[in-house]
Symmetry: C2
Subunit: 143 residues, 2 copies
DNA sequence: GTATATGCAAAGGGTTTGCACGGTT
DNA sequence: AACCGTGCAAACCCTTTGCATATAC
């Protein structure tokens, strides 16, 4: 998160307090929905509006400082792009989300590239399923 | 799609024309959002309501006749559960979606099971990224 | 006949947009 | 000074819900 301002400028965007606040909120929360980002930002600057969060996230994502993935079936969660790309294991039984290294994706990414010419966006990957605990207790997460 | 009615009954649900229409619409469209399912159903029965589509899909999913996955960043798409489990490769550049056999997931599923005790819901898997064409033409899909 | 399912309309959550004002360059 | 970015409110899309009626069992 050193050259964040340079990245924005390089794409023709301006440096604003709101954009910096959103970026550091995304860093602080390791995973955050727009709502959660808003709450985190408002701890430091209460006047910031939700629509600003959305617009800031959009810009930060475009310049490559932030990504999102779809954990849970609802709102996307955003996270900072750092050296350690990770993927998410969401449990449909208890709702917990585990982050693991994206290394496990390597063979699959390679074979999709070779077979299909398809480039997987690894940072976007989220698996659904059931965690060990829910598998053992038979918790299906169904109503 | 032979024992669909038995499956419903086994779970205490009734057999209704709407549920049959929704199920066959999901079969016809190989991937369909609720809206698309509604349109397909209404080709045969114009009076059916959107809320009925949602409720029917929910029931069909619970009894194991239908699954969904999150292709695109918007509405989920539903597809019938058949013998050939497949996964989706969505292209963020041109928006196309390719279905491929889920066999490619086998090694990864096995290693998550062994390492983490985590059971991936394979039918739910959708990767985002870029198809061959968009990789070659540099189409990033960004506005 | 009784409980479930449907249609309709209204409410709800999340996200986007138009506009006037304020801040960055 | 010019333009981009923000706050606010309204609009929008997708999905869910309450209720009276219709239907499957």
């Amino acid at each position: 998160m050193e050259d964040w301002d340079r990245r924005l400028r390089a794409h023709g965007y301006r440096i604003t307090p709101q954009r910096q606040l959103v970026l550091s909120a995304v860093y602080t929360l390791r995973h955050g929905t727009p709502d959660e980002v808003l709450a985190e930002v408002q701890r430091h600057a209460s006047g910031v509006n939700l629509s600003t969060i959305y617009r800031a996230i959009e810009v930060l994502e475009e310049v490559g400082l932030v990504t999102h993935s779809h954990i849970g079936h609802g709102a996307p969660t955003y996270h900072a792009i750092d050296s350690h790309t990770h993927i998410h294991l969401a449990c449909d039984g208890c709702g917990t989300v585990e982050s693991i290294s994206a290394d496990i994706m390597e063979p699959l990414v390679r074979s999709l590239r070779a077979d299909k010419g398809y480039e997987v966006d690894v940072s976007h990957v989220a698996f659904h399923g059931r965690c060990r605990k829910c598998v053992e207790t038979g918790n299906s997460g169904k109503h």
